[in-house]
Structure formats: C-alpha cells, structure tokens
C-alpha cells in the first residue's frame, strides 16, 4: 500500500459495511449499516463520495443491478471490495490496533 493510500476513518467504515452486507452492498444499504452500527447520522452523499473516491483508487469495484419501480425505475449499484481494498483495510485496522496497544485492547486483523 502506497503512502497516499492510507484509509480515512469513514473509508474504513464504508469498507467494513460492504463486508458486512455481503453481496447486497449498495449505497443505501451501506449507509444504513453504518448508521445502525455506529449510531452516526450519515448522508447518502458522503457514502457515494467515498465510494467514488475508493473506486478511482481501485479499492472497490461496482456493478449495476436491475432497475426497480420503487426506485423510480433506477438501478442499484452493488459494490465489492477488491484485493487492494482488503489489504488497505487490514493494514489500516492493524495500525489502529498497534496504536491502541496497552490502552484499548483490539484483536489483530488477519
């Protein structure tokens, strides 16, 4: 992972939400997952801005689903983590764990 690829906190949350929603990771699902687990009021714009940025970096990739009437005839865009994204997330979480050592014990990410 290059020096410029260090993940921000919200990027970590978005990547973890993609992992948690397993195969159903589209914008609103990711937003809801973050809101449900962290209690943080998150806007859909913030989620998409982060996803677009990470897609440009090659950390995530996306595919279009089918359009549905409840979405006004618009399709869902499903996101998946690339190996580079997984690696970046692992390194980033391990860095937090190392910094927290001795103060807040966090299990190692493998």
């Amino acid at each position: 992972m290059g020096k410029r690829d260090h993940l921000g906190e919200f990027e970590q949350l978005v990547l973890l939400a993609i992992l948690r929603t397993r195969g159903d990771a589209y914008g609103m699902m990711i937003r809801r997952e973050i809101e449900k687990r962290t209690g943080r009021n998150t806007s859909i714009g913030a989620v998409y801005l982060t996803l677009e940025r990470m897609e440009q970096k090659g950390l995530v990739s996306s595919d279009l689903g089918e359009a549905t009437p409840e979405r006004g005839g618009r399709a869902k865009r499903f996101f998946t983590i690339n190996p580079a994204g997984r690696q970046a997330l692992r390194e980033s979480l391990n860095a937090v764990r190392k910094m927290a050592e001795g103060h807040f014990p966090i299990p190692e990410v493998v």
Binding site: S43, I44, G45, Y48, S62, G73
Partner: protein
C-alpha cells in the same frame, strides 16, 4: 401540489438542456472543421516532407561522389581542384538549407494536434454526460407528481457524481420505506435532510477542487516570478 407549476419548471429545465445540447452540437461542428483544416495542413506538410526526403537522398548521392573525388584531390589539376571544392561548398550550403527546412516542418505538427484531440475528447465526454443527464431528468419528470420532485430536481442539478442516478434511486427507495413505516411527513423531512447534506458535501468538494487549482496556479506564479 401544483402540477401546472411543476410542468412549467420541467419545461424550463428541458429547454436549458436542449440549449446545452445545441451548443455542444455547434462546438462539435466547429472542432470538426478545425480538424479538417488540421488534416489538410498535415497533408501539405507530409507532401513537403516527402519532397525534402527526395532532396536529401539526392544530396547524399552527390555528397558521396564529391567525397570520393575530394580524397584524390591532391593528384588533380588546379582547375579540376577548384571545381570539386566549389561543388563541395555548394553541397554544404544546400545541406544547411535542407536542415532549416526540416526544422521548420517539424514546428506545429504535434502541438496543434494535441490541443484539438483534447478538445474533441472533452466534447465527447460532455456529450455523454449531457445524454446521461437527459436520461436522468426524464426519469425525474416521469414522476412529476412525486412528493420529492423538487428535491430530486435540485439533486439532479447540483450533484453531478458518477453514480448520482443510483444515489437518487437509493434515496427514493428509502423514502418509500420510511413513508410506509413512519408516515409521509417524517419521510419527507428525512429526504430533505439527506438532500441538503448531500448537496452541501458535493458543493464543498467542488470548492476544495477550485481551491486546489487556485493554490497550484499561485505556486506556479510564484515560481515563475523567482
């Protein structure tokens, strides 16, 4: 809900989109003409280069012949010597002229093409983005009686993200869910809050980009002043 007013707004926006499309069409025609001129210019240059290549070949043959004669010049009579030296001097002069002509031909061949190709590519991108915008607007207009119509329009206008269409779909989906769970008023308030924060974030991103460009320009200016 005032449908007439909504239709008026929709018509106005459609007109703006058509103007934009027309402008893009005109710009594309203009760039097309420039590219035609450029091609004609390059054709002329290619022809001149071919002629120059022939001149250079002929020069090389004459130079080889003179060079052989120049080696045995000591044994030649004076008038013959003068002749060979004069021919050699004339060939050196001709060589310089060929070099100057070649360097003149090189100027402007790549530079102009690069700018035109970049402009054509930008226009192509603008065309696709306008087409995407138009499709997205059609989806919004097809639901002109929706409670979130104006907010959808605002998001469509101010949030030009790569996945803005999918984002609008996500918002609409959750709006419907919330409207059935918590009621229309609560869902509408949630939608408005989401729309405002999203617009603010995208606008802030634009401001940041402009600030970055301004800082870069300032740095280059300072560097040039040094």
């Amino acid at each position: 809900m005032n449908l007439k007013r909504r239709e008026m707004v929709a018509r106005l926006i459609l007109k703006l989109l058509v103007w934009r499309a027309n402008f893009l069409g005109l710009a594309a025609q203009f760039v097309g003409k420039l590219l035609d001129c450029r091609m004609a210019f390059l054709d002329r240059k290619t022809r001149k280069l071919n002629e120059l290549g022939k001149s250079a070949d002929s020069w090389r043959k004459r130079w080889d012949s003179i060079a052989t004669q120049f080696k045995t010049l000591e044994h030649e009579a004076e008038p013959r010597k003068q002749l060979v030296l004069a021919a050699r001097a004339a060939l050196i002069k001709e060589q310089k002229q060929i070099q100057i002509a070649a360097s003149r031909l090189k100027i402007g061949i790549y530079w102009g093409s690069g700018i035109l190709t970049y402009t054509a590519e930008s226009l192509k991108e603008s065309y696709f983005s306008t087409k995407k915008s138009g499709d997205s607007l059609c989806t919004i207009l097809s639901r002109i009686d929706s409670a979130t119509f104006y907010w959808d329009l605002l998001l469509w206008f101010l949030v030009p993200g790569v996945h803005s269409e999918e984002m609008l779909g996500d918002l609409n989906e959750e709006y419907l869910l919330r409207a059935s769970d918590q009621g229309e008023a609560s869902a509408k308030a949630w939608y408005q809050h989401q729309a405002v924060t999203t617009i603010m974030q995208y606008l802030w991103k634009r401001v940041e980009r402009i600030a970055t460009i301004a800082t870069l320009i300032d740095l280059v200016e300072r560097w040039l002043k040094k």
